[in-house]
Symmetry: C2
Subunit: 234 residues, 2 copies
């Protein structure tokens, strides 16, 4: 009945498609797919609803594009991750660190993945099998090699371990905005630093056998790595 206000946004009036994609990503992550109307997206971008459907044939297509877009960013980050995984000493730290960096850079990525896992299990199962399983297998074999050399705990279930580390990072960052009330530091950045540092510590100390970590530091050269031990006793 009532006409919608044109309401120009601060962003350039061109590039509507990219703007729609960005708004949809934010809103799907925050409220979920079913909790987000095309009208809400159109309002944020500052266009009429049919304009959204000009760039994406349907709401379902928009959802697929949002996911594709995130996976494209992941492919972009892959080379850095591969490089980290092959570096000498701090391989493990660097690998987990890169994983965390990707999802910490934009927690919408983590939220979208967790929502998809719950809303569209079949779709995500296919995605996991195609995109994650090769990594899981490779890392698991690396872990078993370490187990034969007594570097890793003998009772680690390699495949399950990899899953739980992935879950720690992704689900952990997906709910961080909510859970951070239980880490009431001075700044959000500070509590997030604590949060991710502890993820890395848990992942590492539940894998590496050898001398107790608190007794003798394994390698002083790791101190400069993005994830340092700082013995928080609070």
């Amino acid at each position: 009945m009532v006409g919608r206000k044109p309401e120009r946004k601060s962003a350039p009036p061109t590039d509507v498609r990219a703007h729609v994609l960005a708004s949809a990503t934010r809103l799907f992550a925050a409220r979920g797919f079913d909790g987000t109307s095309l009208q809400a997206i159109a309002d944020e971008v500052g266009v009429a609803k049919p304009s959204v459907l000009h760039h994406f044939p349907s709401k379902e297509a928009l959802r697929a594009s949002v996911l594709d877009n995130m996976l494209a960013h992941w492919s972009e980050a892959l080379p850095r991750l591969l490089l980290a995984a092959t570096a000498g000493e701090g391989r493990f730290d660097a690998l987990v660190g890169e994983l965390i960096s990707f999802f910490a850079a934009d927690t919408d990525r983590a939220k979208l993945l967790v929502r998809e896992a719950m809303d569209r299990p079949d779709e995500v199962r296919l995605l996991l099998t195609a995109q994650v399983r090769p990594w899981q297998t490779a890392i698991s074999e690396y872990i078993r090699k370490g187990q034969r050399h007594d570097e890793h705990f003998a009772d680690v279930d390699a495949e399950a371990y990899v899953l739980h580390v992935i879950n720690l990072v992704i689900a952990g960052l997906a709910v961080f905005d909510t859970f951070r009330v239980l880490l009431p530091d001075a700044s959000v950045a500070e509590s997030r630093a604590r949060y991710v540092t502890e993820i890395i510590r848990i992942a590492k100390s539940s894998l590496f056998a050898g001398p107790a970590l608190s007794a003798e530091p394994r390698d002083p050269s790791l101190e400069g790595a993005p994830n340092r031990r700082n013995g928080t006793t609070r």
Copy 2:
């Protein structure tokens, strides 16, 4: 326009309120609050939509009741958990084991909590502060005591550690139905056993210092506990 089929269900025709609550719990967990219509709930129960709204004044009230109902079950499980936490040797195993039991008994509980954390951060923040923070504080103090006796790693961030264990259990079980494709065991029960056993192992071995776990078992009496080490080398 068209009339809805009455379509009796196998469950007794009385007890409609409980039936609505059960259906709503299942559907909210599986499809989310916004993805579930009152009509879908009514259809499952086998009543007309207004009958649902006779038992619950609004959809929002139904959501609150679903959450309340779950928290009531939690309160029911608390005594067993408290008992486990004060038992002698296997305290830690028993505590984490009870936490897992509660959410493994019905993964809808985990899914609902994860969905609420993402959909209603403010509400869940209040819930965390009131219901979880006291536990987090108590367990953190216990951990710091252990740290002073060199039983626990010195670099554990107690508060963050507790959060991550909670996240491992709850988010882990919330996405298990989807993630289990990456643990392709003979039966679902088998892969879930592997999955939760590894959660307990990660939680434990990232906390307890002392002799390497794979070297000398801490206490043979733990073997009978619901969570046993079985050195999965696959």
